[in-house]
């Protein structure tokens, strides 16, 4: 006779047929098509890019030559553009996690008030988010035109003709000129998330703080901002991921020029692969960008998982 300790529960063994009827199995079945598509169109290309980064291939020759770390050595040591692209990506990302979220937060605060036409204004500020980045690039490129553009015309009209810069042609300001278009497009995205977050801030807490004599700034600092901590993290992380993928707007406005001064890692990976047709070096650049993105995403996913668990939403 086997004595089973009273605190030990023995579960019956379940066959895969039993499993098929369970809710978990149904979940897997429902997930299967999406997983298959993800594996085919996301995972497989990622693996292929990783493999390609150790090969030399021009897209024409039937054979791909294994070259070890040669592509990485080239981009890190000999490529005159890679470090510029990396530097620009870092600058862009640093700006992208600060400026659009701050603007979005200020807009959300303003549009959370009982203003006449509030909903229309929310739509107006959100509208750029739904426009294709390449269309945004075209619009801003025209506005920056040194002869016929909006900004040049405005400066001319107020007598500042001699101060008109070559917005997209001067390598010292071109990156920031493009970034202004990016901010215009993305501030609305942060705004919507902050607006949603503000709906969750308890009115009674705000009222209580005011009755205790807190100023507007103190209410913001000690009540609203702490309540928006989760939203802020989500906004910052999503802004960071978006910024690392910045491609279309740079491609549409400057093609990475002048003299590659607005080149970004995503665009440089594309240029190496699809225009220079050096798929190995392009893949190496893409892998570097992938690793940078993963370095951001993994902590974010872990944080999300911890947060979900703390709120009792784990599986």
């Amino acid at each position: 006779m086997v004595v089973v300790p009273s605190d030990t529960i023995v579960l019956p063994r379940r066959s895969w047929r039993d499993g098929l009827t369970s809710a978990q199995a149904q979940g897997w079945i429902l997930l299967a098509p999406a997983l298959a598509i993800y594996a085919g169109f996301a995972l497989y290309p990622m693996i292929e890019v990783f493999v390609l980064s150790f090969q030399k291939w021009n897209g024409l020759s039937p054979a791909r030559e294994f070259v070890g770390f040669a592509n990485y050595i080239f981009i890190f040591r000999d490529d005159p553009v890679f470090w510029m692209a990396l530097g620009n990506t870092v600058i862009w990302t640093a700006l992208a996690i600060v400026i659009p979220p701050i603007l979005g937060f200020l807009l959300a605060l303003a549009l959370n008030q009982a203003l006449p036409g509030r909903n229309a204004l929310r739509a107006v500020f959100y509208l750029p988010v739904v426009i294709a980045p390449i269309a945004v690039a075209t619009m801003w490129k025209w506005m920056y035109d040194p002869f016929f553009g909006l900004f040049s015309t405005l400066l001319t009209d107020i007598g500042f003709q001699s101060f008109i810069p070559d917005w997209l042609g001067n390598r010292r300001i071109a990156l920031y000129s493009i970034f202004a278009g990016y901010v215009w497009q993305h501030a609305g995205f942060s705004m919507v998330l902050f607006l949603a977050g503000l709906q969750g801030v308890s009115d009674s807490l705000v009222e209580a703080a005011r009755m205790d004599g807190a100023s507007r700034f103190q209410v913001l600092r000690y009540v609203i901002l702490p309540a928006l901590r989760t939203t802020t993290t989500v906004v910052v992380v999503l802004s960071l991921i978006q910024s690392l993928r910045a491609f279309d707007i740079v491609y549409g406005m400057t093609l990475g020029g002048p003299a590659q001064s607005t080149q970004m890692l995503a665009l440089w990976a594309f240029t190496q692969s699809m225009q220079i047709h050096d798929f190995g070096r392009g893949a190496a650049v893409a892998v570097v960008l992938l690793l940078m993105t993963i370095a951001v995403i993994i902590p974010y996913l872990l944080w999300r998982a911890r947060n979900d668990k703390a709120q009792g939403r784990s599986a």
Binding site: L60, A70, W167
Partner: protein, 411 residues
């Protein structure tokens, strides 16, 4: 088992459909997106050829330039693709496809159809770039030269188009003195301002050294004329070019030229049509070759290449029809101001026709654009260095060494 049977049946049906789509007498042509006049002419030529060859159909697929190149690369890897394809003849473009075995030698067809007896020598020369065989049949021949504004030249006191490089520089100085920007380029597309560097290399180095530099058989850093050309390039971009020019493209540059904002523009023969349609007084513009001092015209050729895995005989038969006197005469202007056939001429030539026909008759050889001569990675670096010099972020004296450093490291 049932599922397997269904799968096989569906696969079989799909295979049958696919096979039915590729008919033995269908000629498939791939090209970049055609202009309206070119498209209309091609459709007419196709229908005439089909009428003359019962059972034959021609199917043309067009894509944007980059997509066209990518599609051909994919086709090369799969041994599939079109029977005929459009491609620029230079080393970095057509040359890559020839090297990859995606072009069938056409020597036997040249002998059979005697094409060299009717092709312009300049166009014909682009079929002999990759010995020992001929590759491709000329589709288009383009020259690039200086378009100038006669009125602005007159205002600056320039009586006639410059005949030498020194005269050209003197004319630019006169224009500058008169407050007129001498020349316009669109710097946002790298290849436009590159043209200035290309012609200056030809001017400063001469034909032989220029070719050696483009072929990378001599060191840029050790070839003095290369640095001279970069210095000269910087002089033009800093003193004589309409500014700012780095943030707009060739189309905006042309609009500024048409609006009399600059006196000259280095453009291809295709701009003649644009001046005819976009300006009220096209006769106010003239054309002269950039005075490089060599006997070569700046320009490039486009060929139709025959896919070795395609219907070669049918493709050659079509090409014979395409380059015939009749087709080229009837469609003169649709593929550029002049066709590739030397026996044709415009019936009512205007100022641009006369200028371009004169240039193509005058020059028996040509030199190609840098981006057609270099491999693609070197082209990208060439553009970066040119733009860096143009934007004063690289000293012109260091440019040749910078390019050579890249060439040495490219592996």
């Amino acid at each position: 088992m049932k599922i397997l049977r269904y799968t096989i049946a569906i696969a079989g049906a799909l295979a049958a459909l696919t096979t039915a789509n590729v008919r033995a007498d269908e000629l498939v042509i791939w090209s970049r997106t055609n202009g309206p006049a070119e498209d209309k002419a091609l459709k007419q030529i196709f229908s005439e050829f089909e009428a003359a060859n019962p059972g034959v159909t021609i199917k043309m697929e067009t894509r944007s330039v980059d997509e066209h190149k990518s599609a051909l690369r994919i086709a090369a890897a799969s041994k599939a693709g079109p029977d005929l394809y459009y491609m620029w003849a230079g080393l970095g473009l057509g040359g890559e496809f020839v090297k990859a075995g995606m072009s069938a030698p056409v020597d036997e067809y040249y002998a059979k159809y005697k094409w060299n007896e009717r092709l312009r020598p300049l166009a014909d020369a682009y079929t002999t770039l990759y010995p020992p065989n001929r590759h491709g049949v000329p589709y288009q021949l383009n020259g690039e030269a200086i378009y100038y504004n006669k009125e602005l030249f007159k205002k600056a006191g320039i009586a006639q188009p410059p005949q030498s490089y020194d005269e050209l520089v003197a004319a630019a100085a006169k224009l500058k003195q008169a407050g007129i920007p001498a020349i316009t380029f669109g710097g946002s597309v790298n290849w436009h301002v590159m043209r200035l560097m290309d012609v200056l290399l030809e001017t400063k180095c001469g034909a032989k050294a220029h070719d050696a530099l483009i072929a990378m058989t001599v060191k840029w850093s050790e070839t003095t004329c290369a640095t001279d050309a970069f210095n000269e390039f910087h002089k033009w971009t800093s003193e004589y070019t309409l500014k700012p020019f780095m943030s707009y493209d060739q189309t905006q540059s042309r609009k500024l030229f048409e609006a009399n904002r600059a006196a000259m523009m280095l453009e291809g023969d295709w701009m003649a049509n644009q001046l005819r349609t976009e300006t009220k007084t096209p006769q106010e513009f003239g054309v002269f070759a950039f005075p490089t001092g060599t006997d070569r015209l700046y320009g490039f050729g486009v060929n139709f290449y025959i896919n070795p895995n395609g219907k070669k005989d049918l493709a050659a038969k079509f090409l014979d029809y395409f380059v015939s006197d009749k087709v080229q005469q009837e469609n003169l202007g649709a593929f550029g101001p002049l066709g590739v056939n030397k026996n044709v001429a415009p019936k009512n030539p205007d100022v641009f026709d006369k200028a371009w026909f004169g240039l193509f008759d005058q020059y028996k050889a040509s030199f190609v654009n840098g981006d057609q001569g270099f491999p693609l990675d070197v082209t990208t670096e060439y553009w970066r260095i040119i733009n860096a010099v143009a934007t004063d972020t690289m000293e012109s004296g260091k440019a040749a060494a910078a390019l050579q450093a890249f060439i040495d490291k490219r592996g």
